[in-house]
């Protein structure tokens, strides 16, 4: 079994993973676990579902690595798998984990809890729930932009569409979020 460290070039790690090297699989997991879990969490708005999705994604990545031949960036390939897994999970669990009804987060005001960190948490929670309610087409570019910080071109590559489409979907997403979270104006920390 070869010893692999995080600092080695990723191609070596991927090659070792393809050979079934357990250490390399662990390295790959450690390098991308937060990325995968975060996207799943923000997409589904639910920790248990995010846990399930993360498992599914890594099992899929490990089993499909032979098919990935560096024609695109590994991260781009990974994003596609994560987003598809999120959509599947949401479809599967629709009847088990209904998203919270329209939250009354727009009731938050500075007069309520005084601590800024508390307000910040409330705002984050409100934003996450509002994002989780977006349609997958709009949600995916929002998450890749704000959780992953990708450029429009990178988002387009991950979603397999044009940069103009990404801009249009982001526009739509921004408008919906602004309407849903209008009550947070003036309280955002």
């Amino acid at each position: 079994m070869m010893a692999v460290t995080v600092n080695e070039p990723q191609n070596d790690v991927l090659e070792a993973c393809r050979r079934g090297d357990q250490d390399a699989l662990r390295v790959l997991f450690e390098a991308h676990k937060d990325r995968v879990y975060s996207l799943a969490l923000r997409f589904t708005g639910d920790g248990t579902a995010a846990w399930d999705v993360t498992q599914e994604v890594f099992i899929k990545v490990f089993s499909k690595l032979r098919e990935f031949r560096n024609q695109s960036k590994f991260e781009t390939w990974l994003y596609r798998i994560v987003l598809n897994a999120c959509i599947d999970e949401q479809r599967r669990n629709k009847r088990f984990v209904p998203f919270a009804e329209h939250h009354q987060h727009n009731q938050i005001s500075e007069d309520q809890p005084q601590e800024k960190s508390y307000v910040r948490r409330q705002v984050t929670e409100a934003v996450q729930q509002a994002v989780a309610r977006l349609s997958p087409k709009v949600k995916a570019p929002i998450l890749l932009r704000y959780v992953e910080g990708l450029s429009y071109t990178e988002i387009a590559e991950a979603l397999g569409c044009r940069a103009g489409t990404v801009a249009a979907r982001l526009n739509r997403g921004h408008k919906i979020l602004a309407r849903e979270l209008a009550g947070l104006r003036g309280v955002t920390p």
Partner: protein, 312 residues
């Protein structure tokens, strides 16, 4: 003229890209100039910026502890199962061809002997009637060559036997391991087979997660194994249709009542395993560490789910 025409065009489609500085300089200047004069677009731009500021709260989250061990276990199980299936299939093919050859030779010999010895063409060909066989199924399914079983059994013996001798450290791995013949299936499919589709609460005990779902065919019935885990603790619940009976290898079962729930306890001092249910489903809870209170909660969860599912 055309240039001025462009300044007048609304820029709503470009506002996100403008806000994120993703437009080429000339386009950016056009949007900027338009926003100075167009109230409607300026209002929309304000919304885009407001939503963008809020969306930046969605920072990366840290993956929770324990994810790797779950993934590693599922991966190892998957690769082992895949290997076994391929090997088994190869072996069966080879064995099948070999047996078919030997079988054909034997049959031919018997026919020849019969023809010579008993002059069979002139006698009744039907041999004396055979009694109805009772086939005992296993997790891998009963033999297809035997008549339909009057009563199929699902034998938990191997699974319980390994668990009995396990240390507390080993027991977590063993409880969550696949029972022989079980393969991982889709979660939704597993829940449907287990009669849990109507449930909104996904776990019978606080803190435990449903992490693994497997299924196997025993005769004509499907048995589901659901594994719930919390840190280094786990318990399994097998759910089978009522036509099936559980058997326990060398162990036996005694009637028990756990917090008012009538069930049978597997008579083994080192584990907390119960058989319960009735009606359309029969369940077996296999655990090493659950208290009687927790075991009762698990049983109640399944019984109530099955009642909701039309099990009266």
């Amino acid at each position: 003229m055309r240039f001025w025409k462009r300044w007048e065009e609304h820029v709503t489609d470009d506002l996100s890209a403008y806000s994120d500085c993703m437009l080429p300089p000339q386009e950016s200047a056009r949007v900027s100039e338009h926003l100075k004069h167009c109230e409607s677009c300026a209002h929309e731009y304000d919304e885009v910026r407001f939503a963008g500021t809020l969306a930046r709260h969605l920072a990366r989250a840290s993956a929770p502890e324990g994810l790797w061990s779950s993934i590693e276990r599922r991966w190892l199980e998957r690769t082992t199962t895949a290997w076994s299936a391929t090997e088994q299939s190869r072996w069966l093919t080879l064995r099948g061809s070999w047996l078919a050859g030997v079988g054909a030779l034997l049959a031919l010999s018997l026919v020849l002997v019969a023809l010579i010895r008993f002059d069979l063409p002139h006698r009744a060909t039907r041999p004396p009637g055979t009694s109805e066989m009772t086939s005992v199924g296993t997790a891998a399914g009963g033999s297809k060559s035997t008549p339909a079983p009057a009563l199929a059994h699902f034998n938990l013996g191997t699974y319980l036997e390994t668990l009995k001798a396990a240390s507390p450290e080993q027991s977590y791995r063993l409880v969550s391991a696949a029972s022989p013949g079980f393969v991982t299936v889709e979660k939704e499919e597993a829940l449907r087979m287990a009669g849990l589709s109507a449930l909104k609460k996904m776990t019978p005990l606080p803190g435990y997660r449903l992490l693994t779902y497997r299924a196997s065919r025993v005769g004509k019935s499907e048995v589901v194994q659901l594994v719930y885990e919390k840190g280094k603790e786990a318990f399994s619940v097998f759910v089978a249709p009522h036509q099936l009976k559980f058997s326990y290898g060398k162990e036996s079962c005694i009637d028990a009542k756990v917090r008012d729930i009538r069930c049978q306890k597997v008579d083994c001092p080192f584990q907390q395993s119960y058989v319960f249910g009735g009606g359309r489903y029969l369940c077996a809870l296999v655990s090493k560490s659950l208290t009687a209170e927790q075991a009762a909660a698990v049983m109640r969860y399944f019984i109530s789910a099955h009642k909701r599912n039309g099990d009266k």
